[in-house]
Every structure is written in C-alpha cells, then in structure tokens.
C-alpha cells in the first residue's frame, strides 16, 4: 500500500529552527515528485513546493521561496520541510503529497497525502 507517514506535532518558539519529515512506503521513492502544502488554522490549502527525489530537482511557490527548504534523502525514502527561523505565522498543518504518476512529467495531480504535521509556533 502506498503511504506517506509524517512526523509528529511540533511546538516551537519564534526564531527556532525545525525540520519535519515525510516517509514514503510502498513505491519507488526516487521516481515520484513529492510536494508540500500548508493549511493555516481554519483556512484553505496553499502550495509550497515540490521535489523530485531522484535528482533533488526542487521548485518552490514564489510565496515560499526563501522561507523554507525542501529536501529528500533517497537512501531513507524521506522528504523534508525545514525552517531556519520560525515565525508565529508559520503555525499551521503541513501536508506532504505524492504526484499521481511516476516520472518527471507533471500533470499536477497529487495522491496520496500524508496525515499532516501540526506545527505550532508560540512564545
């Protein structure tokens, strides 16, 4: 069964760094794009960016470029989303999601999604 399992909830202070993870099961990790989506409390879905683990080709939404880093560890089948200095406005649920098809060609359908990681940033 194809599954994305995300790391647990985090509570951090402003200015702290954080790296959350998304471990893939049931498919060849290197041949599917993985994306990240933010959902702020009570709000909609926002696209953050995407990575192709096979060659680490990474593309960011302009809204998140320079704000986060997306990476992947091929040997462990894990994708990461990290911040160097968190802000209160980073408080949100973060989802990882896999492209629906293997290979580099994007049709931008994503399924499945991970269960989400809740990040709370508060002093």
């Amino acid at each position: 069964e194809v599954q994305l399992v995300q790391s647990g909830a985090e509570v951090k202070k402003p200015g702290e760094s954080l790296k959350i993870s998304c471990k893939a099961f049931g498919y060849k990790f290197t041949t599917y794009w993985i994306g990240w989506v933010r959902q702020m409390p009570g709000k909609g879905l926002e696209w953050m960016g995407i990575i192709y683990p096979g060659d680490s080709d990474t593309r960011y939404s302009p809204s998140f470029q320079g704000q986060v880093i997306i990476s992947a560890d091929k040997s462990r089948s894990i994708a990461y989303l990290q911040w160097s200095s968190l802000k209160a406005s980073d408080t949100a649920m973060y989802f990882c999601l896999r492209h629906g098809y293997s290979g580099r060609y994007l049709t931008n359908w994503f399924d499945p999604w991970g269960q989400g990681t809740l990040v709370t940033v508060s002093s």
Binding site: T107, N108, D111
Partner: protein, 111 residues
Amino acid sequence: NFMLTQPHSMSESPEKTVTISCTRNSGIIASNFVQWYQQRPGSSPTTVIYENNQRPSGVPDRFSGSIDSSSNSASLTISGLKTEDEADYYCQSYDSTNQVVFGGGTKLTVL
C-alpha cells in the same frame, strides 16, 4: 499567477444533487488539468476527481467533474447526496510553469 474562485459554502439535502463551481480568473481553464479534493474535518484531503473528470478507484460514480470553456470554470457535481459527503472541497490546477494553485475551498453541508 491566476486564481481559482469557489463559493465559500453550499448546503443541500440528502439525495439531492449539488454542483460546486471553480472559476479561473486568467488563462484558459482547459489548458491545464483540474483536480478536486475532499477534506473531512480532521483528515487529510483525498482525491474525488483528477484530470478534469477522472474518478480514482473507490470514489463512487455519484461524483463527476467537468470543464466549461464558456465560463472558464470547472465543476464538481455530487448526485444522490449522503451525509458522509459533508466536507470541504477544493479545486486545484496549475500554470504553464507547473505552479500549483488551489481554490479557496467550499464547505458543503448536507442537511
């Protein structure tokens, strides 16, 4: 970039049919595939329609998707509404540079 506009909320009775619209404000809706995701409270989104009108296995045929070039919009139609269909629904598309865009979401109430 472009925007996808959905009604904020809709409500309908069980067994009725509801159609949720998703209007693209610039660019041609038919140029890029549209997906629809369902998000129940406390859960991750799941696909109900992909590539405009395709249903993943396991999604009942009560769910259908379409594109209307005249209004530059996509639609998700749910027929024979069930209480379990109560959820938030998001449309999603992308541009020529593969920048993904989500609609603002529609809260569907079945009562």
